[in-house]
């Protein structure tokens, strides 16, 4: 690699470098921050992300391949990076007060989030199975630790352990698939792989390799049959981390899935049938199991499984609209899901966990404004217009019907009718029950700002989707 190439590579990956460097500096500086000055950590972390975002924006003008084909900074990656920035910054804002309540004093919390962010960013830009692996591990190792961050709590420890074991197994499966690909084609680069096998795409060995890779990736987005970790981890992890994981790493998983699945190699192997089955079963399981949950975080865990299933349908559809629909879906999902998690985080105050749905009984009576925001997020998750959640689903359906998958579209809408039930059940508890207790939501200006911002996104994208839709369509790679 010449010096010029190296310079270009560094330039292309500057945002990642900034985040990693910032995280390292904060790791050291964080130890020196005196007690009671934790808000410095929040603002410093936010500043790191904002600088990275600025750099991403400045470099977004052209496509920059880097590191001899391992990495690429294209508009597709830029779009996903902004979803990650959004998720991370909002998580920081939500964490400040929550960390005090839960007694999370240490700076590692913020540092680990930044490292996880850098892993996700690498994932979005990775064009080689090995760089994908590096990004993946960087991301999940941080989330393992964050999941178990409530050291005094059994649930948190248990969740972390489950997550590590299952995650390690899925990584092993993924790596095995990668090794098969390398053995059969002699390369791990996505583009070169496609070129190497263009003669005979239906090699059973390759199909096996693809299935392994699919299994490894599907684990990360929590789709059936690799979803078992989701409810336990979501319930046990600190709620802020749950919020983060349900949006950031999930979107990163989809970024990789889109790059890998829409690679000609995979596209030629009829693997879409498997993916379609995964999508439908995922939606069905998420929707039906959520019906009987009492814990808010578990409902949201199953809801996130159901949403992952819906988004995978966009992958099945493929094509320009299919890819754009998945990206658009994830962007909107980030807004509405962080919003609803924000309200759950806000309820945690004093000794009150606010994790059981019944805890919200009559909430609308005491806090009509907040209750209305929850209503907005929940109806958006259910996909009722004029919220953004409707438009997200609508665009996936358009992509499906465009490719002729009308039956899949019908199944998808019927399952989302099932899913609507458990969202409006929560609305019912909030609005149609008498309050049994007084509420003291932990409302700091930061939490308020987060809720206002996510609500604005949820309703704003719903009413004026054109610009965001165009953004997603322009960001489709190869388009």
């Amino acid at each position: 690699m010449t010096a010029a190439e190296l310079f270009q590579s560094v330039l292309a990956s500057l945002p990642e470098i900034v985040v990693v460097t910032g995280a390292c500096i904060l790791l050291i500086v964080g130890q020196l921050v005196p007690k009671g000055q934790e808000h410095f950590l929040v603002w410093a972390s936010v500043a790191v992300v904002l600088i990275a975002a600025l750099l991403t924006l400045m470099l977004a003008g052209e496509v920059r391949p880097a590191y001899t084909g391992m990495f690429i900074a294209d508009r597709f990656a830029v779009f996903f990076k902004f979803v990650f920035y959004l998720a991370t910054v909002l998580t920081f804002l939500l964490s400040r007060k929550y960390a005090d309540i839960e007694g999370i004093g240490s700076s590692e919390y913020y540092v680990l989030l930044l490292f996880a962010l850098s892993g996700m960013m690498i994932l979005a830009s990775a064009t080689d199975l090995l760089s994908i692996y590096v990004g993946l591990e960087l991301m999940v190792l941080c989330t393992y630790v964050l999941t178990g961050f409530l050291r005094g709590e059994r649930r948190s420890n248990e969740a972390a352990l489950k997550y590590v074991i299952l995650g390690a197994a899925s990584t092993g499966i993924f790596l095995y698939g990668v090794s098969l690909v390398y053995g059969l084609t002699g390369t791990t680069q996505l583009d070169a792989m496609a070129a190497a096998v263009s003669g005979n795409p239906l090699d059973p060995g390759l199909l096996l390799a693809v299935v392994f890779i699919v299994a490894g990736l599907v684990f990360k987005v929590g789709a059936v049959p690799f979803h078992m970790w989701v409810p336990d981890v979501y319930e046990g992890a600190p709620t802020t981390i749950t919020a983060f994981m349900s949006v950031g790493p999930k979107a990163a998983g989809f970024a990789v899935i889109l790059r890998v699945f829409l690679n000609p190699l995979v596209a030629a192997s009829d693997v879409w049938i498997i993916v379609a089955v995964i999508a439908v079963v995922t939606m069905a399981l998420g929707s039906f199991v959520a019906l009987v949950q009492d814990n808010f975080k578990r409902v949201l865990a199953y809801s996130s499984i159901a949403h992952a299933g819906f988004a995978i349908l966009g992958v099945v559809a493929g094509g320009q609209d299919g890819i754009a629909s998945v990206m658009f879906y994830l962007l909107i999902y980030a807004f509405m899901n962080l919003g609803i998690f924000g309200t759950v985080i806000m309820m945690r105050n004093g000794d009150f966990s606010g994790e059981v749905i019944e805890d919200y009984a009559g909430f609308a009576k005491s806090y009509p404004g907040l209750a209305f925001l929850m209503l907005l997020f929940l109806f958006s998750l259910a996909g009722i217009p004029p919220t953004a959640g409707f438009f997200a689903k609508f665009y996936v359906l358009v992509a499906l019907v465009e490719q002729g998958f009308v039956m899949l579209a019908v199944i998808a809408v019927l399952l989302s009718a099932v899913a609507a039930y458990f969202y409006i059940r929560i609305v019912m508890v909030i609005y149609m029950r008498e309050p049994e207790r007084t509420f003291e939501p932990a409302l700091t200006p930061l939490v308020r700002a987060t809720l206002a911002f996510t609500a604005a996104g949820t309703i704003g994208i719903g009413l004026f989707p054109a610009w965001f839709l165009g953004l997603a369509q322009r960001s489709v790679f190869g388009g």
């Binding site: 009722i384 217009p385 019908v410 009718a417």
Partner: protein, 491 residues
């Protein structure tokens, strides 16, 4: 630049709802809500005054790009069919506010916001010229209605609200897939007029017809997907029932008129016998169910099913008299049944019972109330001189022309109507004064008469001189018929 009249009409209640959020005093909330709905009503009169009855073209059209990448536009417009329903919705809007004046005594602000949001969305449904926009209005309406039933309803309100929500949602979602299929079949546009001009293969038309049928049939509601209606009506507060019966049910029938007939003409003709049979079934079955009710609201709710059967029968008779009768009957049903629900609400506020057995001799206690009740009861059973007589007569003559057996069944339904309505009136108004109710009842007051009078005026106006109403829709209906039959016979 012209004034975007329809946008004003649609968003006036929404603006009112937004303003209400900042008010704290309950009385201020009531008066503001009333102000905005009356203003909206005035605008709808302006619209009707400027309406050209000689053309079937869309009028007062507005068109702005919304999501150009998918061919979605913000397009509004009215023709002779929708103009009547815009007017009806605006009329019932302020009547609903008046009907909730004292009946709603907690969370008044939230209630009025929901009510106004609801009105804006329903108006949007009737004005939309873009299929996507239509769907957004159509579906968004579930949110305020869910809250109106679920928060301010009776004892079984939660169950009723869920049932209403899930039924309608499940029906609408299939409609959504149908809409998207239509989008691709019709050349990637959501423009309703452009889609109307498409000639789709019969196979596609058939599938779409059933996808649409499920959504519209749930809304109308047609037997056998009617079971949400009695629950929703019984549990909903008075204003909720008025809006539900007055305009929400019309949206289903309007869907048939705006989409099924012109876009899927071959399928509509092919399946018209099935639709006529279902209509006749609704008329007779609804009538028998109403006959067996002791609860006043349930009785009116089941009578709604029966009356909406007349509407769908008129529509799928697919001839001029049937269609005009069906549309007029939609308007009449909005006025008459809206009024009947208002009357049930008025008496319920006084006695807190809806059981017919608890009443008797109201004529002696509340003579003005009973006199008006008589008028609307007679209107509901289609006595000559009232609005429903004109509508039902047209529907029946259209129905007999289309299918004799179905017409005969409808006549039986009309007889049943006389039986349960007169029976109800006799038990409630005549006879000795019931011991249980008598001392609590005072007659209607000025506010209530203000709400009742306009409805009474329309009962007699349409009944005695229906020409202006038929004139409004005439050109559009004739155009609709040519769309259906020319294209159907051209194949």
């Amino acid at each position: 630049m012209t004034v975007p009249l329809l946008s004003l009409i649609v968003f006036m209640p929404a603006a009112g709802a937004a303003l209400l959020m900042f008010l704290r005093n309950d009385d201020a909330v009531r008066w503001t809500a009333l102000g905005f709905t009356v203003l909206d009503f005035a605008l709808s009169i302006v619209m009707l005054a400027g309406f050209d009855t000689t053309t079937h073209e869309m009028q007062f059209t507005e068109r702005r790009p919304w999501v150009p990448a998918l061919g979605i536009t913000y397009a509004l417009g009215v023709d002779g069919i929708s103009a009547l329903f815009v007017f009806l919705t605006a009329l019932l809007g302020w009547i609903c506010v008046l009907a909730s004046w004292v009946a709603i005594d907690r969370k008044v602000k939230e209630f009025m916001i929901s009510l106004l949001a609801m009105q804006a969305l329903v108006l949007g449904v009737f004005c939309a010229l873009d299929l996507f926009l239509f769907y957004v209005f159509w579906e968004a309406m579930l949110i305020p209605m869910y809250l109106i039933i679920g928060v301010w309803g009776g004892d079984g309100r939660v169950y009723a609200a869920f049932k209403f929500f899930l039924y309608t949602l499940a029906g609408s979602l299939l409609f959504l897939v149908g809409v998207i299929v239509l989008y691709f079949q019709g050349g990637e546009t959501f423009d309703i007029l452009a889609l109307t001009a498409q000639d789709l293969p019969f196979q596609v038309q058939s599938w779409l017809f059933f996808a649409f049928l499920i959504a519209f049939a749930v809304k109308v509601p047609m037997v056998p997907v009617h079971t949400w209606l009695p629950d929703a009506h019984v549990q909903a507060p008075t204003a909720g029932s008025i809006i539900l019966a007055g305009v929400l049910l019309k949206m289903g029938a309007y869907g048939f008129l705006r989409f099924s007939l012109p876009m899927l003409p071959e399928a509509s003709v092919y399946y018209s016998t099935l639709m006529l049979a279902l209509s006749a079934l609704a008329i007779v079955y609804g009538g028998f169910l109403a006959l067996a009710q002791d609860d006043l609201k349930k009785l009116v709710a089941y009578s709604s099913i029966s009356h909406m059967g007349f509407v769908t029968m008129g529509i799928f008779a697919l001839n001029l008299r049937g269609l005009e009768g069906g549309i007029l009957q939609m308007f009449n049903h909005g006025v008459t049944t809206g009024a009947l629900f208002l009357f049930v609400g008025l008496i319920y506020e006084r006695t807190h019972t809806r059981s017919i057995a608890d009443y008797g001799g109201l004529m002696k206690v509340a003579p003005v109330y009973t006199a008006f009740l008589a008028l609307f009861t007679l209107s509901s059973m289609a006595l000559p001189g009232t609005n429903s007589f004109v509508g039902e007569l047209l529907v029946l003559s259209g129905g007999f022309a289309a299918n004799f057996a179905v017409g005969a069944a409808a006549v039986l339904g009309a007889l049943l109507g006389a039986a349960y309505l007169l029976g109800m009136y006799r038990k409630v108004a005549l006879g000795p004064v019931s011991a249980r109710a008598q001392f609590k009842i005072h007659d209607v007051n000025g506010r209530e008469i203000t709400a009742i009078l306009p409805l009474a005026v329309f009962v007699l106006w349409v009944g005695l001189y229906p020409k202006p109403f038929l004139d409004v829709m005439d050109a559009s209906v004739k155009h609709l018929l040519t769309q259906v039959h020319d294209r159907e016979s051209g194949q």
